[in-house]
């Protein structure tokens, strides 16, 4: 993984229209971005489509990246996540057969927990997530890491929708306070 300043300087070059910088960024990051998209859209072909669209968007919008306001990698990840979530919300292509649904939701649960476990000890995010009740933490991880909706989280955790919404709302506020 390249240093943060390297990603930032690549974005600055891309903003000036340097295509070789975009190619370098692709070489450095495409594999991880495909993996991030795949946690959300599940299918390899769709994950690649997300990353393809995301790099075109980076080319088009690199000038909007404001180095003073955010880190470059997070900006890149945000673009990929938004594309992936939009694809997911569009819905049509994401149908599971009934038999696959539970297994698919189970996979997602695992992805979400693995991401949490993989955070470095001492990472503020790990500490703050760790301070939440288990259900709040799992609900938040399922939304963020795997792009589940409120309803899907409720189905996964086998809890009423209203309760899940409240967990996520209270949990997210606590998390933001803890991190700030």
């Amino acid at each position: 993984m390249p240093e943060a300043h390297e990603t930032r300087s690549l974005l600055e070059r891309i903003a000036k229209g340097d295509r070789s910088a975009l190619a370098l960024l692709f070489d450095h990051e495409a594999g991880r971005l495909v993996a991030i998209a795949r946690r959300i859209v599940r299918r390899q072909d769709l994950a690649e489509e997300v990353v393809q669209d995301a790099f075109v968007a980076v080319w088009q919008r690199a000038a909007q990246f404001d180095a003073a306001r955010g880190n470059a990698m997070a900006w890149l990840i945000t673009i990929v996540r938004h594309r992936a979530l939009n694809l997911l919300r569009d819905g049509g292509r994401m149908d599971y057969h009934d038999g696959e649904t539970l297994a698919a939701l189970g996979d997602r649960s695992l992805d979400a927990l693995n991401a949490f476990d993989a955070l470095a000890e001492g990472d503020a995010l790990k500490t703050c997530l760790g301070q939440l009740d288990e259900f709040k933490r799992r609900a938040i991880l399922l939304c963020y890491v795997t792009g589940l909706s409120h309803g899907e989280v409720a189905a996964t955790l086998d809890a009423p929708l209203g309760t899940v919404k409240a967990w996520i709302r209270r949990g997210t506020l606590s998390l933001q306070e803890c991190l700030s």
Binding site: D18, Q60, A115
Partner: protein, 236 residues
């Protein structure tokens, strides 16, 4: 909105819980509310640590080639300071629109005069109106002639910054890729000889990009697209 409402909304946005319309609305609100934008950026930055735990995966070998093909026609949002062309329409300059109107009149006048001497002998086979990428307003008219030459008629005045040039391109077909028609320091009424090309087709792309002096180092557009449009035959 109080602080908690804002944190809540920023949280939902970052978690991906807003639908597309609400997410768009949120982004619009952020443009006017730095506190809200800051909350979202901060939380997104912190949560992205979870994404960074993803182990890289393989992908199809031609993924980069597919991206590159899309770049040829992808319009770009420009950084504000590049050219006066970009931001002008968004905020009225002091004194209102008069200076802009005057510059358009001058450009049209110059075009008209030059046109009477330059183009009387030929009618264009194709005409393309190139739109400003910043706000989609008409910025340049390109007339294409049977002898491969093209005439530029600017409708807005814009110029390349020091050390850069405007480069005019067309895309006869995607297989060949973009072909340069010539470079110039500033938009003005001018006839460019152009390389020998097949007769342009309706819908053929014409664009002007910003390139380092004395022209694109790669022979392909490398800089931001300033204006772009598609050819159409005039009615006779």
């Amino acid at each position: 909105m109080n602080r908690e409402d804002k944190l809540d909304l920023a949280g939902q946005y970052v978690l991906g819980l807003l639908d597309e319309a609400d997410a768009k609305r949120f982004e619009t609100t952020c443009a006017q509310d730095p506190e809200l934008a800051g909350m979202a950026a901060q939380f997104a930055g912190q949560m992205s640590r979870l994404d960074e735990t993803a182990a890289p995966m393989g992908y199809r070998a031609d993924l980069w080639t597919r991206i590159e093909q899309q770049l040829i026609t992808a319009p770009r949002t420009e950084a504000a300071p590049v050219l006066p062309l970009q931001a002008r329409r968004k905020t009225a300059p002091p004194g209102g629109w008069w200076p802009l109107a005057a510059s358009v009149l001058v450009a049209l006048g110059a075009g008209y005069l030059a046109g009477t001497t330059v183009t009387r002998t030929a009618t264009p086979t194709m005409i393309a109106v190139l739109l400003n990428e910043a706000d989609a307003s008409p910025a340049v008219i390109i007339e294409v002639f049977a002898d491969d030459s093209v005439r530029l008629v600017p409708l807005e005045s814009f110029a390349a910054p020091q050390g850069q040039v405007l480069q005019v391109w067309t895309l006869p077909d995607p297989a060949t890729g973009p072909v340069s028609l010539g470079t110039l320091p500033a938009a003005r009424d001018i006839r460019l000889a152009g390389p020998s090309l097949p007769p342009p087709e309706a819908g053929q792309l014409y664009e002007i990009t910003l390139e380092p002096f004395p022209g694109s180092p790669t022979g392909r557009p490398t800089g931001p697209i300033l204006v772009k449009g598609f050819a159409k035959p005039p009615l006779n």
